[in-house]
Symmetry: D2
């Protein structure tokens, strides 16, 4: 019923919502952050319709509690994802915006199909 573009947008939303709740709360430190970034990327890229995923976690927010570590919090995420359905692509992002971990559509575009003769 929906267009490929709309489906790509829907899928981008699903993936961002899912990864947020899957990973928030994970114990993390500046030393382990790169390993968690890689693990998130490798988990998300497996899923259908995902073309690209880049995860950066803001280590400046990883302040140690009195036991010497931090927990992955929503505001640490800077995630960019590209989903594709048919010839439609959607690029979306999870990043802090005015103190809130915000998800937004960055752009989408269609690749023109090859005309058939």
């Amino acid at each position: 019923m929906e267009s490929d573009r709309e489906r790509a947008i829907f899928e981008a939303g699903i993936k961002l919502g899912a990864l947020y709740h899957q990973w928030v709360g994970t114990p993390i430190s500046r030393e382990s952050a790169a390993s968690i970034e890689t693990a998130i990327e490798k988990a998300v890229i497996l899923q259908p319709f995902v073309e690209e995923i880049t995860v950066r976690l803001d280590s400046s927010l990883m302040n140690e509690n009195r036991f010497g570590y931090s927990e992955l919090a929503g505001l640490m995420f800077d995630v960019e994802i590209v989903t594709r359905v048919g010839f439609s692509y959607c690029r979306a992002r999870l990043a802090p915006e005015r103190g809130y971990p915000f998800m937004r559509i960055e752009e989408y575009h269609e690749i023109p199909g090859i005309p058939r003769h």
Copy 2:
């Protein structure tokens, strides 16, 4: 940049992806299922752009392990959500489809704005 319709679709995806990963794995039984359904509904309805949410968990799949309980699994979910952005609504669903917990857009529609004189 995106239209209200597209934003409503994006938000529906976010909410379904998030609730799946927030709640899957919760210990559950036929007796406690109604309480978990209510808790999920009350948690999701709080979030921005959510107009309606209905959660049904398939108790026929809640087979007891040898300790007498089950865990909330993806295939148990039957969730319908309505998101709204401006005058655009999106109704989406998480439900089993051929053995997989599937998320799909069910419909969307626009309410015509009130003409101003």
Copy 3:
């Protein structure tokens, strides 16, 4: 190998660690808090070795973000659990202590077995 007392202590730890990571991050408000408390209690009581569970969530910390809701945070939990293995009981607690969501053993005791003639 371990004593019943030690097994009861181990089980109390498992349950507190599990519930913390299962539920932290759930959208919550002062209005929905009671529903979430009940759902957690009903989920935890299903598990083996759990005799009692009481969950209180500190609504004074449920400050609304700019979308009008909050997320269940570690410091909101005040949970008391009683586990039993054989005739040994362990009462443990998850509650804030000096700014950290802390889990501790509160007490344990044995009920003397009935002598056999």
Copy 4:
């Protein structure tokens, strides 16, 4: 109130319960499994009282769904953890036992303190 040994046992339970619920449900494949194992180890070792942690995920259970990936399930875990409180160590394990992801204490021991003259 409790002994160091009991506290080490309690902490082992907390860590195993927490990691189970933090990670179960993560999208995974045979190719990405090593990356997830490392991420879990690096997250858990940060926490207080954890001396050692080894995570093996059973890739023979990572059967692809119709979208070509799997989700991290309870029965895939083989985790060994060593906690320490004072001079007391506890080694505990999460591994399948008769079809259930089972957590158990494997051993504990005390290192004799250095006598003071």
